[in-house]
Each structure stands twice: as structure tokens, then as C-alpha cells.
Symmetry: C2
Subunit: 457 residues, 2 copies
């Protein structure tokens, strides 16, 4: 079998693949710090050179920030775009690192061999799993495994300021049939996963106004409405005793989990007790009739993220303030529309407060809907089968509680679904000192892409 040849080539070439990754890891491409701007450009150039060596028509495209790496190559009926990022997080505090974060090394650990360096896992190591799969394919077949566009960003760790304009300006060039994103992790140490649904987000900031000025609680206490009471009553009423959000229509566009996904998720045997214990909690919050994974991945939320009013300094002031403030956000799922949810929230909130109080809403409210991939696209089941073959355990479609911005942008700007496949592990210490990437993640990651591309490209 030709795929077997590719996999064998990957195995043989692993030491050289690690050398290439280490060369990239030696470039300190920290995107948040202007000091490292030339290093970011160097990393982009390194990748352009490597892509060209693989036969891609590649370039580093200038932006107001760091360059985008774009490469096109191969042929096939389905056009696939691969996304990753070459920039890395800062390395502070440096004294907590066991070695120079930009002097990568192989280390033996009780759990296996690891590549230790900033960016090893997030995201240079993951980016290279895909390029090494292409390299092995090319070596065996003489050509790339399909019609591929490679799109590598250099600002992911600094808020992606150039991303949306770049997508808009290069819409035709970057729109493919499906995006492949390699910036996520295995579900457990050796259980491969494809993220197929990511919750959206809607945000509201508002002020409850009562009296025209701050009042003294001696002169007015009891008789004058305290906006902190209005606010606490309002926010306490956001959920019913069963943990459901009380805003009328809030669940209108929420779909029940499919039996297929429910079964897969149940198979994960998510240990919510350990998950909560890790952060010092023991009692699941949220809807009482939903499983913890449903609550995290496929149910919407209403959360207060900020709350303030009255006197908050040292000591005491017996003030009845004129105003109380809150920031509230909603995690959205299925077809929930951010604008519709925010409108329903406003209408509900304004109906809750006394007639002599009022609410002002801040304008900067923004929202994004949930990203729900069309897993009816056979590419998803094909990729799941490929991952299952490689890892020896049935791969699962999982959800993500938060949004992954790039997946949302591909959908909203380019109208393109994304398949999120990654090989990072929970203990990779991304964004922290002593980041590492397991050699197993790297090796089996490359093999996984070869198997996936063999089936879908």
C-alpha cells in the first residue's frame, strides 16, 4: 500500500523532522514584543523556504503587523486550507525555565521523550506535523497529497489584529472547501479528537440608575431604592432554581445533542469531579438535568463577569449609590443569534426593574454565534476513521466551551467550515515556562495527517 510507504518514510525520517522543528524553535518569534519583530519575519521566511522546498508556491505576505505565510500547491478535487501559527508566547518568568526556551532539546521524562522549547507545542510543533506529512508524501509520491493551501499566521498570540482584514482582502485566494486547523489537543493522553462545535459569545455591559445622586443611608436608607439591590435581584433572577436561564426565548434556537454525539461524549467518561477538584470546587453548577460535558460544550450560559457599585475602597461608607454596573456574557450554542439573545436580555432586564429606575446599555457590545461544523460532510467521518486507525482508540467528535477565534473567522469571513485536529496534551505547559511537545504527539501527529490526507485530499 502506498500509504504504508508514506508512514514508513515518516518513521525513518523522524530524527530529521525533529531537527527541522528545532531549527524553527530556535527563532524567538514572540509576536507581542516589538523587540522580536525581525525574529518573527525570520520565522516566516524559514517557513516560506521550507514550503518552497516542498513544491509550494509560497510567500511571506506583509501586513501592518507580522507577515502571513501563504503557500499553494498540489492538485485534487477538494481544496483544503491548513492553518497554524508561527508566533509564540513570551517566556517570562525566565527563571522558572529549566533551560533556554529557544535552545530546544530532547528530554527523557517518565512519560516518554519530549521536545522542550517555547512553541514546541503551541504551535510550531503542530504546524510541522502537517508539513512533515506533506514532505513524506512528496518523497514517496513525487507530489503533494492534494490541492493544498497553507496559511500560517504570526499574530495569534497577540490578538490577530491583521487577520480579519487579510482574510477580507484575500478572500478568493484563501477560501477552500474545508479548513484544517492544528492548534488543539488530544482529548486525553492518547485519545484523538476532532472539535466540531465551539460555543459562541454575546456580551452586554450596563448600568442600573436609581437616584440622581449618591444618598446617605441614614437619611434615605429603607425608603430610597438602592440600585445595588435592584442589580443583585436582577442578576439573581437570571437563572431559575434548576439552573436554566430565565430570559424568555433564550433556548428557542438551542438544539438537542444528536444521539451520535451523545453516545460519543458518554464514551469519554468525563471526570467532572476531577475537573472541578483541580480548581478547588466540588459541586457542578448549571442545569441540573444536563451532563457536565453537555453543560460545557453544548448548552448556553449566562454569566456575570464583572459587577461593581457603591463604595469599594478600604473602610466603610454608608452610601446608597446612584448607580450599579455589570458585565454579563452569554456562551451561545446551535443557532442562537447573538443580537437576538442580547435584545431578549435587554427586554427582560428592563421589565425586571422598578419603574423609577432605568438601565443604560453600553454600545460596544459584540457577539459571535457558535461554530457548529457540518459533520455530515464525509471528510469528518473519514478523518475520525484515520485518527482511530493511527491511535488505536476510537477518535471522538468533541465540543469546545469557548470559541476558537480563527474557526469563527473562517466561517463568518470566508464561509468555510473548519476541522480542528490537534495533538497537544494537557500537560504541555503552553503559555507557561518549560513548554514541551511529546515526541509521540509529533510522530503520531505527522502519521495522523498522512492518514487523514490519504482519505480526504
Amino acid at each position: 500500500m502506498i500509504l504504508d510507504d508514506v508512514l514508513a518514510r515518516i518513521d525513518d525520517d523522524l530524527p530529521q523532522a525533529i531537527d527541522r522543528l528545532m531549527a524553527l524553535l530556535r527563532i524567538p518569534s514572540i509576536s507581542t514584543d516589538p523587540t522580536f519583530a525581525t525574529d518573527c519575519a525570520r520565522a516566516a521566511d524559514w517557513l516560506v523556504a521550507d514550503l518552497r522546498a516542498l513544491g509550494f508556491d509560497a510567500r511571506a505576505a506583509a501586513t501592518p503587523g507580522h507577515p502571513m505565510v501563504v503557500g499553494h500547491g498540489g492538485e485534487g478535487s477538494r481544496h483544503l486550507l491548513f492553518y497554524g501559527h508561527y508566533d509564540v508566547q513570551p517566556v517570562d518568568p525566565l527563571d522558572l525555565w529549566h533551560r533556554d526556551p529557544f535552545d530546544p532539546a530532547l528530554e527523557d521524562t517518565p512519560k516518554g521523550q519530549v521536545i522542550r522549547a517555547r512553541g514546541a507545542s503551541d504551535d510550531k510543533g503542530q504546524v510541522m506535523t502537517f508539513l512533515e506529512a506533506c514532505r513524506a508524501w512528496k518523497a514517496v509520491h513525487g507530489s503533494l497529497p492534494g490541492k493544498l493551501t497553507i496559511f500560517l499566521e504570526g499574530e495569534e498570540e497577540s490578538g490577530s489584529p491583521s487577520l480579519i482584514p487579510f482574510l477580507q482582502e484575500n478572500r478568493a485566494e484563501l477560501t477552500a472547501d474545508l479548513a484544517l486547523i492544528c492548534d488543539t489537543g488530544l482529548y486525553e493522553d492518547r485519545l484523538p479528537a476532532i472539535s466540531t462545535q465551539l460555543r459562541g459569545l454575546a456580551k452586554a455591559e450596563f448600568t442600573v440608575h436609581a437616584a440622581a445622586r449618591d444618598l446617605h443611608s441614614g437619611s434615605y436608607g429603607g425608603l430610597a431604592r438602592n440600585p445595588l439591590h435592584v442589580m443583585t435581584t436582577l442578576l439573581a433572577g437570571l437563572h431559575d432554581p434548576q439552573g436554566r436561564v430565565t430570559i424568555p426565548g433564550f433556548y428557542d434556537d438551542v438544539e438537542e445533542l444528536s444521539d451520535t454525539l451523545r453516545q460519543q461524549w458518554q464514551g469519554l467518561a468525563f471526570d467532572h469531579a476531577a475537573y472541578l477538584d483541580d480548581v478547588g470546587l466540588s459541586i457542578p453548577a448549571g442545569e441540573v438535568d444536563r451532563t457536565p460535558l453537555e453543560i460545557l460544550w453544548s448548552r448556553p450560559t449566562a454569566e456575570v463577569n464583572g459587577l461593581w457599585g457603591g463604595y469599594t475602597g478600604a473602610g466603610f461608607k454608608t452610601v446608597l449609590p446612584a448607580e450599579a454596573h455589570a458585565k454579563v456574557s452569554f456562551r451561545l450554542v446551535s443557532r442562537q443569534d447573538p443580537e437576538k439573545i442580547l435584545t431578549a436580555f435587554r427586554t427582560w432586564a428592563e421589565a425586571q426593574i422598578p419603574a423609577d429606575c432605568r438601565i443604560t446599555w453600553h454600545d460596544e457590545i459584540k457577539g459571535s454565534p457558535a461554530s457548529v461544523m457540518a459533520i455530515t460532510d464525509p471528510a469528518f467521518e473519514a478523518a475520525r476513521a484515520a485518527l482511530t486507525e493511527e491511535w488505536g482508540r476510537p477518535a471522538v467528535f468533541i465540543g469546545e466551551g469557548g470559541s476558537i477565534p480563527i474557526a469563527g473567522y473562517f466561517k463568518t469571513v470566508l464561509g468555510m467550515d473548519a476541522m480542528l485536529v490537534g495533538f497537544a496534551k494537557d500537560d504541555d505547559r503552553i503559555h507557561s515556562p518549560n513548554e514541551k511537545y511529546d515526541v509521540e504527539s509529533f510522530h503520531k501527529g505527522i502519521r495522523s495527517w498522512a492518514r487523514i490526507l490519504a482519505r480526504i485530499a
Copy 2:
């Protein structure tokens, strides 16, 4: 009648009394600003000299701050202590004054003649009403109207730091049968009032702890307990839908208003709509089955004075914070004990929260009980009759929603009740630019004290 002679003497001497008050008003005795420390001492010396001229054995007693003026004189079976303060508020913003705040003048206004100067109403004018009553009495009778102690403070506008130690160190000298305090106002423009009950205060500051660290609402939202929700639910539950505080035992030591006081208060026809409208509100809060005056004067409250947690800066952070904070105070009435109320609150609050959350309480909690004067003491009815005679309208016993610290200290440190009688008006602009005292307040205030002293001294 001898009282008539005293009143006639007061009328005749009014121009000279105004001159004397103006001399005192010319001394800029601002207690908060060290620049004016010698002026404070000068004001104290001026009063000591005036008291000596009236036959008092008077001195300016040094304190770590500004001096206390103490004088003893006269004879009688009931020992009365008169309290007032000679220090004044700062005058900023100076450019809003029509004239130099320490160059007093008589001004004609549509509502009558006023004395314009800082301290005219708060509290030099009110202090001098009492001293002028003594002066007229002495002129007519050759002696003071009774056994009197004069006690004038110079730090009232700066938190009275020396007061409690001074009371403790001079307990025997300052303990009388009853204190007379002249630092309050008429109920309406021409309706005299005696404040006979002042609400107490208990304060609690606490933190609700949930997770061990701040969490991301994408990864944990819905499943992990949000302490802001715990806090809002806790605080929203402080009152039931009828506006009653829900803490068990909270009302145990609250007494119902006596029929006598209820009748007097009903006679006041308190315009709560105007009172609320003045601060931009229209709907009374608080217990639905209580009158507005009861709510303000004789019912306890639970109020949130400060509330904060999560992200409160500009923009948005979808954080589930680890902690939420609040400052809560209780206005107390009747025999409610601050410590007992705070204990009940703590017990109640800790029973409300989920088992994996906890509350920490800040230690600096302090409280003071309500001051409820023993109006069964015939001096109160006698003073009420005297005020009724002078002003031609039935004087009333009223309440105060806030505590007046000096009345509390006289009670807690010296075990002495106080009768609060004052002649200030709501439009006196105390603490503000263009403070004034009506000549009518000053004139009838002097006459009021002469009448009161004739009955009770």
C-alpha cells in the same frame, strides 16, 4: 412674669447678640486644615472669655487635636450639659461664595433676613442661641438659669478624634442628668422638633470564595460556580417580596412605635413623594406595610453599600472570578444589638451558599445601637411645650434615620440621654458655599432656650 422679662431682654439685645455671633464667625476655625489650628484655638479662647463673662468657670482644655471648651456654672436640682461645636467646614469652592465666608453680614432675602457666613448655622449660630439665652437670663435674674455645664468641641467637622478619650478621661466632670444638643434643625420652616430616636448602625464586609483561581468562562462556564452569582443570589435574598429583611431573628428586638409618637408623626404629613422626587425617585422602597416616616426613622434596614468582583475595567474579560466582595450595613432601631444582628447575618449568609464556596469576614466590623431617648423623662414634654409656645405650632418628637455620633457617645460613654433641639433650616446650605442662618432661627432659638430652661433647669 419673670420669663417675659427674659424674653423682652432677648428681643432688646438682639442686635448686640448678632454682633457677638459675627465676632465669632470672623474666626476661620476650620478644623480639618492644620493651617487654621491657631484660629481654632482663638475661637475656643473667645468662647472661654464669653463664658467667663457670663459667670461660668470656663477653660479651653488641650487635646491632641483642637481644644475642648468646658464651663460650669449656676445652681439647680437638675444638672444639664449643653453641647455644640465651634469648628466649621472648609469653604471650597471659594468662587461659589457671594462674599468672603469669614466676613459675616446681614442680608435681606425673599424669605427674611439672614446671617451669611461659614458656620452661621453649623454650628456657631446654634451654639450662641444657648449662650445668649443664658446672658439674658443672667441680666434679668443676676444668675444663670440652672446648674449648667457647657461643652463645646472643636473637631466635630473632622471626625472628633479626641472626643471619646476626652469623655472617658473627664467622665465625672461631664456626666450630667441630661444633655442638650443644638446641632439639628426645625422639621419644617417653622415647626420645632426634638429628635428623640436615632437609628444605630452595624457594618459587615465579606468575600465569597468559589474556585481557587480565576477561570475562563469558555472552559468552565456553566459548570463551575460563579461567586458573582452566589453573591447576587445571597444579597437578593436579604429581603422578601414585602421588603422585610429575611435574616432569622432580625426583628426580635424591634419595638412598635408608641401611639403617641405615631400620632405626632402622622401629624407631620411627611411628603414622601417630594422627598423622593428631590433625588429623582418616585416609588418608596422598603416594607410595604409601613409608612415612609416609619421606614426612615423607626424601622431597621439592610443595605448593600459596596459590591465588586470580576473584571471591572474598560472592555470585557470573560472571567469567572474566584471571589466576590460586598459591604453591607444595617440601620438599627429599638433594642437591636449590633453584635447579635451581625452574628445572625453571618449565620444566615453562610447557610445560603453552596457547600463548595465559603465566606471570609473582615475583622474591622463595628456597630452602635440605636439611641432611643427616655421621653418618659418629663423634661422632654416640658421642652416640647416650651417650643410649642414659642413657635405657635405643636412641637413634635421626631426620629433621625442616621446616627448623630455625639448623642451615641453621651449614651455609651457617659450613660447620659440627650435632647436634640435645633433651629437650622433645610436651606441653610451647611457644608456648602453661602451658608446662612435665619435671623428668625437665631432670635426664636434664643427665646426657645430661655423657655426650655425656665421649665426644666
